[in-house]
């Protein structure tokens, strides 16, 4: 199917759904409609179709959630999962059945962490790619992952904690992951933060962090080094109800903030000069987006470890379906990321429960992505 055919299909779909909206039809179907009236009607139909697409993907995510919760050594039927969820919600203080216990206490934290982590990482990745105008960018581009890894390594091998207690490693990873953003803000005082400057300073920081981390792992006790290694792959095994609120807030608030910046990200496509001419302080906007992305990615990474791929590929797959308009792309990428994580977790639960999800996302996602690249005909960049 050619791109034009796809576009026409989408527009037709939207128009079909908008049967109740007489205005858009009156224009399209009458011969007296002017070209601009038709353009407005078509655009509305198109936007409506895109919104509909988001709702469908959101529903698919809900289905995947149910499937994922049901999987495991204690199998629960698909519908029973939702029954357990709603029964518990309806009778919060009551005695829990086995199903409810498994669903709520054992599996919900893990599955919801997967959902929000995937959502946050993919939204951050979409925003980063749009801002940098670079298809290779992901939420970790500025050195966030290396920072987080160094923070975690310091905690695990040297016992250096910024704050003591159960969240020591998490806080270490979070704070170190934010160093690149801080560094770029400091640099922006002297130089305007162009995409090239942001990427290159991120890469230089990444090498510095990696060097220190490699040294620490060499001199560390092998057990500690092995746990650091496991951490860098990324897994959901640490998920718990107490960690969830933080990931939830970071992914949701960050996502809303990025969606709010979507129009600004769109205009950045047309170059800095044009963005300034329509009233956007480009340098400040870039810093705001960068900090938002960094907080989202750092917040997620510090709890789950470095889950790769989702932040790079989620946005690309979304782009193939909805195009590059950030107003649609960012939420679509979020849903796509969430869906991919849930699917990956389904595979983990069926194949090997203790396998870190980071391995599966890359192992399954890689070939799927390659197939999509081969199949897609539309220019997305």
């Amino acid at each position: 199917m050619t791109k034009l055919k796809i576009r026409t299909k989408i527009t037709e779909l939207g128009r079909g759904v908008r049967l109740s909206n007489v205005a858009s039809h009156k224009y399209k179907d009458s011969d007296t409609a002017t070209a601009s009236q038709r353009a407005v009607a078509d655009y509305k139909a198109y936007r409506y179709a895109k919104t509909l697409m988001l709702i469908v993907v959101a529903l698919l995510c809900l289905v995947a959630l149910g499937v994922d919760i049901g999987l495991g050594p204690y199998h629960i039927d698909f519908l029973d999962v939702y029954k357990a969820i709603f029964d518990r919600l309806g009778d919060w203080g009551g005695v829990m059945t086995t199903d409810e216990k498994v669903v709520w206490d054992l599996r919900m934290p893990r599955v919801l962490t997967a959902l929000f982590a995937g959502m946050g990482l993919a939204m951050a990745g979409a925003a980063m790619q749009s801002m940098m105008k670079n298809p290779l960018a992901d939420p970790y581009t500025t050195g966030i992952s290396s920072g987080a890894a160094l923070g975690a390594t310091l905690a695990m091998t040297m016992g250096i904690f910024l704050i003591p207690g159960a969240f020591g490693t998490v806080v270490n990873a979070f704070v170190f992951a934010l160093i690149p953003a801080g560094f770029i803000i400091a640099m922006s005082i002297y130089r305007k933060p162009s995409p090239a400057m942001i990427i290159l300073s991120g890469i230089s920081l990444m090498y510095i962090f990696n060097a220190i981390q490699s040294y620490l792992m060499l001199v560390a006790d092998p057990n500690a080094a092995s746990s650091v290694y496991a951490w860098t792959i990324g897994s959901l095994n640490q998920a718990s109800w107490s960690n969830l609120p933080f990931i939830f807030c970071v992914a949701l608030l960050g996502g809303i903030a990025l969606m709010y910046m979507a129009r600004v990200l769109n205009t950045m496509n047309s170059g800095d000069a044009y963005s300034k001419s329509i009233g956007i302080n480009v340098n400040r906007a870039r810093i705001i987006v960068l900090v938002t992305i960094s907080v989202v990615a750092a917040g997620i990474v510090s709890f789950t470890g470095i889950i790769g791929f989702i932040g790079l590929v989620g946005p690309h797959i979304a782009r193939m379906f909805v195009g590059s308009d950030n107003k649609i792309l960012i939420p679509a990428a979020g849903l796509m990321g969430a869906g991919l994580m849930l699917l990956a977790d389904c595979v983990v639960q069926t194949v090997a429960e203790t396998m870190p999800i980071g391995i599966i996302t890359s192992l399954i996602g890689g070939p799927v992505f390659m197939l999509l690249i081969l199949k897609q005909k539309r220019e997305i960049w």
């Binding site: 034009l4 002017t34 078509d42 496509n269 195009g323």
Partner: protein, 283 residues
């Protein structure tokens, strides 16, 4: 009311390289104003300074009496729209979404019905309404340019600045675009500032012509006042003859000059392999 742009002793420099300095200009009357001049004369730089994209090296620009540097980008954007030079940079967004960018200074997060209608109307003015749902990166260079102009119009400014708006357009659309810009200027009483390289197109439609030369403004006035054989020789180093067509100056170029230079240096004037008749003829 039209916005009033005043340049006071304005100077531009990139690092230590001075582009021009000591420019005093007053733009306040509605109409189509063309900026002409050779490459690198600082025509685009002048536009950048009007909407704060570049900081002046010296002097200042005033918009309605206020220094540009004291205004926010958003304040300026409500008065002044800018259509950048065609760069070939594209993105996978629909044409309609691209034109709607121009509504940014006027609209909130959600677009209103009015925004959509204005955008579609501007597209229609540029004969691009049929392409509203096509992706921007699926269009030709000339179509890109028409979309960009529509986006500038959608901003509904009091001063519309266009950097070489006709560079990729076919002759029909060059003339049509310039006439449209002039008509909009006259009907709405706004100022339209156009950078142009086609002297005849500029002469035909401009109410005022400003000729830049390296370092300063060479001439400023009506097309007939500015476009003379002497000016063209001084500014572009091109021999030309200026005749009058329908009350407007019309420039005819004579460029035998460079051939003479070659014979003076003793270089062959034509490749020995070329046929004697000089022109390739279909067999």
């Amino acid at each position: 009311m039209t916005v009033r742009i005043t340049a006071e002793n304005l100077g531009a420099a990139y690092g230590s390289i001075v582009i021009w300095s000591g420019i005093n200009l007053d733009l306040c009357e509605p109409g189509l104003i063309s900026i002409l001049g050779p490459n690198g004369a600082g025509k685009s730089t002048f536009m950048y300074m009007i909407n704060k994209i570049l900081e002046p090296a010296e002097g200042r620009v005033l918009i309605n009496g206020e220094d540009v540097m004291d205004l926010t980008f958003k304040d300026i954007a409500k008065l002044i729209a800018y259509v950048p030079q065609a760069s070939g940079e594209t993105f996978a967004m629909t044409v309609m979404d691209t034109v709607l960018m121009g509504r940014y200074p006027h609209s909130g997060y959600a677009l209103t019905e009015e925004d959509l209608e204005i955008a579609a109307d501007c597209l229609d003015k540029m004969h691009m309404a049929e392409f509203a749902m096509r992706n921007f990166n699926e269009l030709s260079a000339g179509q890109h340019q028409r979309v960009m102009i529509a986006r500038g119009l959608a901003q509904e400014p009091e001063l519309l600045m266009l950097d070489e708006p006709t560079s990729n357009l076919d002759i029909y659309h060059q003339i049509r675009t310039m006439r449209l810009l002039r008509d909009i200027a006259h009907q709405k009483g706004i100022m339209v500032l156009v950078i142009c390289h086609d002297l005849n197109i500029a002469a035909k439609f401009s109410d005022r012509v400003i000729m830049f030369q390296k370092g300063s403004i060479y001439a400023d006035g009506t097309a007939a006042e500015v476009l003379t054989a002497e000016t063209i020789k001084d500014v572009y180093n091109v021999d030309a003859e200026v005749i009058e067509v329908k009350g407007r100056p019309y420039v005819i170029y004579h460029n035998e000059g460079d051939v003479d230079e070659r014979s003076e240096r003793g270089e062959p004037q034509r490749h020995p392999g070329l046929p004697r008749s000089g022109y390739w003829k279909p067999q």
